[in-house]
Amino acid sequence: MTVLATRGLSRRFGGLVAVDDVSFDVHAGMIKALIGPNGAGKSTLFNLLTGFDRPDAGDISFLGASILGWAPHRVVRAGIARTFQNTQLFDEMTVAENVLVGMHTCLRAGFAEGSLRLPATKASERAAVEQACRLLRLVGADRFADSPGADVPHGVRRLVEIARALASNPKLLLLDEPAAGLNNAETHALATCLRRIQADGTTILIVEHDMGLVMEISDEIIVLDRGRKIAEGPPLLIQKDAAVIEAYLGEVIADA
């Protein structure tokens, strides 16, 4: 089953074409990676998919229905959650509260119920706190549950964002460079965690620079270069693709 499909997606900023006629599908239950050199348009594509930006052309459909032009909060409600390359944690709230905010779409209480604190509200709040703790354990950030967001180390911020994104119970999870700033052991733990999320039935689309991690976990890879899709396929094929090697892998090797 196709969870997410884009057709001819384009986005221009002035003269620069950031995303150029990109079409791809994400199938249910897979981990799909989106890679490409810096400035390839990966984050722009993420913004288009989640409603933070509007494409100039093309269509996005989620579970068969178009979500083109939807506001971000509607996209989340539909079942797509994301993290950011520059983490967007709520610094003045504790880590646990951050995850609770992620549950916004799953909880009901509005201004009236919240201020009256009816028994039903209290009960659902208690359940929500338990769920938040579970999610934090899942990503391995539970020991920071009571720290303010501002005090959390950089790598952990990404994990907390993952937990927060999971809190909305998404069918599709979009992760923007989750491994940046993690050491080897942490990256390994992240990989395990992502597999567990996948096993729970959540589809994942991931932007990542850590090729080791990408090759280890992804079922399929899309390669973007200067806004265009230059390759798509399973990791082994991508590794051998001449265009990819020229555009991207060479650069990585040069860097290393």
């Binding site: 989640t50 933070f52 506001a71 971000p72 909060h73 509607r74 989340v76 409600r77 959650a81 994301r82 993290t83 950011f84 967007q88 944690l89 709520f90 610094d91 003045e92 709230m93 509260e97 609770l100 905010v101 992620g102 549950m103 916004h104 779409t105 909880l107 009901r108 209480a109 509005g110 201004f111 119920e113 919240g114 201020s115 009256l116 604190r117 509200t121 709040e125 967001g149 964002e161 927060r164 994104a165 809190a167 909305s168």
Partner: protein, 326 residues
């Protein structure tokens, strides 16, 4: 004694002190001054949500206060409309105006939002003066009747004091509940990182409008109670200075807190009356305090923020943190 126990007992105790005051004294002056405190508390509760939690500045809440006051003044004159209905109407009207204003203001941030709310407030001041058929113009509305609840006429400063404070306490309890549940978290998220909030499925635009309308409604409610308790409404009360003072209460109290602004509100509202509230001050000291009131208020504001940039709430937070580590 456990902290939890203290946490329950202290507010209950404070509420009891507030409610028992009319049994201890009959001083009308004291009641009037404390009524002002209670009225400001109602506005501050809304502003703490809007500004302290959601980070949306408003330099125009005096205008909503005024809308509430004039609505009650106009409706209850000659007993045309029952007090309770008039008060509710005033609250709803202020909230509606806030709602309507918030829709186009959604796009504004920071100083620009400050200017827009300030501009709205100045426009309302012109209307308060010019719409003489409703507001009485510069002469104001006089003889606004005391609150009447069914068969009870609340016609003493003590009674009005109780009414206002009970309202304030209810509002504060509700606000305190709110910030600990889903909508309150959403407000704090909005302030913390707007992109993050949107990514959590929060409709930030709608939330902004909601909290603005809510805080405008609370300001309207306070204004309505002001009109009934003071009995006289005139345009000079709803000034920019009042709006600025309210914002100052939030910052001095500390953003992201209800308790802090409450303490700052009590302090700042009582400051001009301090000469009358301290027993046995010599006449010279009283006139000195009156003369230098603005200087003292300004210096207090500067000093508090110089030594406690997080306001009262920040101060208490750091005190408890120090206590915890010991």
């Amino acid at each position: 004694m456990s902290r939890r126990l203290v946490g329950t007992i202290a507010p209950v105790l404070a509420v009891m002190v507030v409610l028992a005051l009319p049994l201890v004294t009959t001083d009308r002056y004291l009641f009037k001054v404390l009524t002002f405190v209670g009225l400001n508390l109602i506005v501050v509760a809304g502003l703490a949500l809007l500004f302290g939690y959601a980070g949306q500045i408003s330099l125009g809440h005096a205008a909503f206060f005024g809308i509430g006051a004039y609505t009650v003044g106009y409706l209850t004159a000659d007993g045309a409309v029952p007090w309770l209905i008039a008060t509710l109407a005033a609250t709803v009207l202020a909230a509606l105006v806030g709602f309507t204003l918030a829709l186009p203001m959604l796009r504004l941030k920071g100083h620009y939002l400050g200017m827009a709310t300030l501009g709205f407030s100045e426009i309302m001041t012109v209307l308060f003066v010019e719409a003489r058929g409703i507001t009485g113009g510069n002469d104001g509305l006089r003889g606004i009747p005391y609150p009447v609840l069914g068969p009870f006429k609340i016609a003493t400063p003590g009674g009005v004091y109780l009414l206002v404070w009970i309202t304030a306490i209810i509002v504060l309890v509700l606000a305190g509940n709110l910030v600990r549940t889903r909508p309150g978290r959403a407000l704090r998220a909005l302030h913390g990182a707007e992109l993050g909030a949107q990514a959590c499925g929060i409709d930030t635009g709608r939330l902004r409008v909601q909290v603005f309308a809510l805080s405008a409604g609370l300001a309207g409610l306070a204004g309505a109670l002001y009109a009934s308790s003071v009995g006289y409404v005139s345009p000079t009360t709803f000034s920019l200075e009042f709006s600025v003072l309210l914002v100052a209460m939030i910052v001095l109290g500390g953003t992201g807190s209800i308790a802090g602004p409450v303490a700052a509100c009590v302090g700042l509202t009582l400051l001009p009356y301090v000469d009358a509230l301290i027993p046995g001050l010599p006449r010279e000291a009283v006139s000195f305090l009156q003369d230098w009131e603005a200087d003292i208020a300004g210096i207090v504001m500067i000093l508090v923020l110089l030594f406690a940039p997080g306001g009262v709430a920040g101060l208490i937070r750091s005190m408890t943190r120090a206590g915890d580590s010991r």
